[in-house]
């Protein structure tokens, strides 16, 4: 067992940490407290830097032209990248490159040329459309969007909810029920261009973070058969491992904001004097700081263990669910305690805490709510497919 980072990992972390401290945080100081984008010129300048550094689109596999940085290192990097005000949902404001929906890697050569490669070049943007108003925790049962074969096309009717970035995307991966008799095996993933007739962004849905999400409707939308990703009826078989893997850096990003919040709180507790003593001398505050550290470390090690297992090709679904749950819930508790330690200042937009507080709340729902993660873990323990 080796808890030491490799030299390579240490150097990558140092580099990313410096980038966040020296390039991102100073720029962020001049932005609106809820900003999720950089001014265009700054964005372009920083993207040129991350490309030069070879850290642009870190996770893109070598066979797709990326650097293919391993999952353990990416987990460590995710914890660094989120350590600025917009960092949880817009790590480094996207200057390290966006990742495509993982399912897209299952594309055919023709689909790759038309969709994946332009995405990776940053020319086309994509959304991921799974959840519907009927529910996102158990999409295999909930999906009501219907596709009916008509010659070389499929005619799709229905709608999606919570589809992030759909209004600014050029295409997306859409989960559609193509055979109502087959349950889970009746769901197919399509690549859909957003300018297809019948595709409509019905409304922007405001949520507790500044960046809204969307609701979509599809009316007699014709999508060619060749736009099916993977197999017909194989939507849920796509990229399962990759999806479980993606949950790990997703979790680690929560640890990152917890780490920074806790650093701020420790420093504040030592400075702030009430009733004649620094806060740090009060057991009530000391225990909060200790509990923060426990939440941070248990999340961090859970995420790293999940990443390590996945890297070694061993089963890691239980561990990735556990990491997702520990990191998202732990970070929520840490930020809440830090706000308490800061008092009124903790509520202000002078500090990143209030934004973290709102955004980290979403993390207990997105990528599978905590309860669903527990279902996954329970199945593993009991060796049954309970509750699904």
């Amino acid at each position: 067992m080796d808890f030491q980072l490799s030299e390579e990992q240490q150097l990558i972390i140092q580099t990313v940490r410096r980038f966040i401290r020296d390039e991102i945080r100073p720029l962020e100081a001049d932005l609106d407290p809820d900003a999720y984008e950089l001014p265009e010129a700054e964005y372009e300048r920083l993207v040129a830097m991350t490309r030069e550094m070879g850290l642009y689109q870190m996770e893109v596999p070598v066979e797709f032209g990326g650097p293919g940085v391993d999952i353990v290192t990416r987990t460590l990097v995710a914890e660094e990248l989120s350590q600025h005000r917009a960092g949880l949902y817009d790590a480094a404001y996207g200057v390290f490159g966006d990742s495509p929906p993982a399912q897209l890697y299952a594309c055919t050569p023709a689909q790759r040329e038309k969709y994946l490669d332009p995405f990776l070049r940053g020319e086309r943007h994509a959304f991921f459309g799974l959840s519907e108003p009927s529910g996102g925790s158990d999409p295999a049962r909930a999906i009501q969007t219907r596709g009916v074969r008509d010659g070389d096309d499929w005619v799709i009717n229905g709608g999606k909810l919570w589809t992030s970035h759909a209004d600014t995307s050029d295409f997306g991966v859409l989960y559609v029920r193509t055979d109502p008799t087959k349950g889970r095996q009746g769901i197919t993933a399509f690549i859909v261009d957003t300018d297809t007739p019948g595709f409509q962004v019905a409304r922007l849905v405001q949520v507790l973070r500044a960046h809204y999400t969307t609701e979509l409707t599809f009316t007699d939308m014709r999508v060619p058969h060749e736009n099916i990703l993977g197999e017909e009826g194989g939507g849920f078989a796509l990229a399962n491992d990759q999806l479980a893997r993606n949950r790990i850096p997703y979790a680690a990003a929560c640890t990152g904001i917890a780490v920074w919040s806790n650093e701020l709180a420790v420093d504040w507790a030592k400075q702030r004097v009430t009733f004649g003593e620094p806060l740090a001398n009060r057991q009530a505050i000391q225990w909060m700081l200790v509990d923060n550290e426990i939440d941070i470390r248990s999340g961090r090690w859970a995420a790293l263990q999940a990443a390590d297992l996945s890297q070694r090709g061993e089963p890691f679904r239980f561990e990735s669910s556990m990491a997702k749950l520990l990191c998202t819930e732990g970070a929520g508790r840490v930020i809440d305690r830090c706000m308490q330690i800061f008092g009124g200042l903790g509520m202000s937009k002078d500090l990143p805490l209030e934004r973290f507080y709102r955004e980290v709340r979403i993390r207990r729902i997105g990528e599978g709510p905590s309860e669903v993660q527990r279902i996954v873990m329970a199945r593993d323990i009991l060796n049954v497919r309970s509750g699904s």
Partner: protein, 267 residues
């Protein structure tokens, strides 16, 4: 051309003041727990200067040297990741607790042992103790010219052209090679390492030389050879005091303020 960059590992200057501790008995800084030491910022700028010269000169080599503990390998690797070619750690229990003079002695011996060095680049000072002497003392030891506090360095045939920061402006000095240059923050930002170079740096082995390898006697280096004695290390106490200016009108309060400031010898 063969350039040497001297790199020192120091406590992270970003350490929050509340985590900075000293041992007043031993006159030592206690390393902050959980905060890894870093490469002195000025040294990474010195590395940047050497790298730009290497790029301009072509067919050149950079050796990065650090005198320090085993952990100073990390500082060396950082410069290797920026693009330096070879790393050299000068590590010996006898080297510890020295002064700028003994540090320069050890570094000088290493440069002499390397033999074919054309220029040495140091930071203008180490960002922990801020002595700003090591580079100059090395030049003295090597018998080479030195140009300190550089904001620009260029190769001009067999000479170095160095733009130096002065108190009230800049000057350009010429120095024949070999020479020692200390580099200031006005030089510009050090580059970010590239992923590929990071991977190469991680694979490189750093050579270690001890006092014996350098032909140095333990009595002339480190604490034993030190000519400087640290009398007292302490964290200054900061005291804040509030005094409210009395007065019925703004003019009276202002007058009281002027008096108070004069009394405190601020005005």
């Amino acid at each position: 051309m063969h350039f040497v960059v001297c790199a020192k590992q120091i406590p992270d200057p970003e350490t929050p003041p509340s985590a900075f501790k000293i041992d007043p008995q031993k006159n030592e800084v206690i390393p902050a727990q959980g905060i890894a030491p870093v490469l002195s910022q000025f040294d990474s700028i010195a590395a940047e200067a050497a790298l730009r010269l290497k790029e301009a000169a072509g067919d050149s080599k950079i050796t990065v040297i650090s005198m320090g503990a085993e952990s100073a390998q990390a500082a060396i690797k950082q410069v290797l990741a920026m693009g330096a070619d070879e790393g050299l750690l000068l590590n010996d229990p006898a080297f510890t607790k020295g002064d700028p003079h003994t540090t320069a002695k050890v570094l000088t011996a290493a440069v002499q042992k390397l033999g074919d060095v054309d220029a040495v680049f140091c930071g203008r000072q180490a960002a922990d103790w801020d002595w700003g002497q090591t580079g100059l003392l090395m030049a003295e030891g090597l018998g080479w010219p030195s140009a300190i506090i550089a904001k620009g360095v260029a190769l001009d045939g067999q000479q170095l052209s160095v733009e130096r920061v002065l108190e009230d402006g800049y000057e350009t000095a010429q120095a024949p090679l070999p020479a020692v240059v200390t580099v200031s923050n006005e030089f510009g930002e050090p580059r970010y390492p590239k992923l590929q170079q990071i991977m190469q740096a991680a694979r490189k082995t750093v050579t270690t030389w001890t006092a014996a390898d350098l032909g140095l006697d333990a009595a002339e280096v480190g604490e034993a050879g030190s000519r400087l004695r640290l009398e007292k290390l302490f964290i200054p106490e900061k005291e804040g005091k509030v005094e409210l200016m009395e007065g019925d009108t703004a003019t009276e309060k202002a007058q009281a303020l002027v008096k108070a400031l004069q009394g405190a010898k601020v005005l």
